[in-house]
């Protein structure tokens, strides 16, 4: 059974548009990590959320954690071509610090 679901699976937006990616866990979240990945490369850490209601921002990317819903959202404001890539959420479900990852959301931003 899928423990961590991301939606949408892919997203194509025009430069300048806002977008939101969602990540929902079927298990209790002890921490939620967002990473970005360029095709075939390693994961780049974006931010970590641990407390219910926590919200963090870095440049034009904001992530929120809804502990009760076991859900996190990643919002990009005024998207740019440099935002293109695969966004992955990873959940710490309290089991030896290992992360369970979603299948990713592929984002394309066209000029």
């Amino acid at each position: 059974s899928q423990e961590l679901e991301q939606s949408p699976q892919s997203l194509i937006v025009q430069e300048g548009k806002n977008l939101t990616i969602n990540c929902t866990s079927s298990k209790t979240l002890y921490g939620l990590y967002w990473y970005k990945q360029k095709y075939g490369e390693g994961l780049i850490f974006l931010m970590m959320l641990q407390k219910g209601g926590e919200e963090k921002s870095h440049e034009k990317i904001t992530a929120k954690l809804d502990e009760k819903k076991q859900q996190s959202s990643l919002h990009i404001t005024a998207s740019q071509p440099s935002h293109a890539g695969i966004y992955l959420c990873g959940a710490d479900t309290g089991n030896t610090d290992k992360l369970i990852f979603g299948t990713g959301t592929r984002l394309q931003v066209f000029p």
Partner: protein
């Protein structure tokens, strides 16, 4: 500060051959992870080390995969013999003990023909 190093970046082999990947974690990080990422999927944990001990290898196909971290620093992941379904990106990550951020290397893309 240097990041997680992995080599090689790319490897192409034929099925039934052997292959080995190397990872050097961030200095001072006691925990090291190996993940397998098949195209279109998220990374899946293969094995987790803390220092030179195995914490979790429940998803490692032990009939063909092996990993070691003898001195508690760098690590090697081996596949012997490789199968077509082993084609994937193999990612290494490291972190400090406890619920801490995992930092990833660039990965090794393995193609099995």
């Amino acid at each position: 500060e240097a990041g997680v190093a992995q080599s090689p970046r790319y490897k192409i082999i034929e099925k039934r051959q052997s292959v080995a990947f190397w990872c050097n974690p961030i200095s001072g990080h006691a925990t090291l992870y190996w993940y397998q990422q098949i195209l279109g999927q998220g990374p899946k944990l293969l094995i987790q080390f803390q220092n030179n001990g195995v914490v979790d290898d429940s998803q490692l196909p032990k009939d063909r995969f092996s990993a070691e971290r003898l001195k508690g620093v760098d690590s090697t992941l081996k596949i012997q013999p490789a199968k077509l379904e082993d084609s994937a990106v193999y990612l290494c990550a490291s972190s400090s003990p406890g619920p801490d951020t995992q930092y990833f290397g660039p990965g090794t893309r393995l193609t099995v023909l």
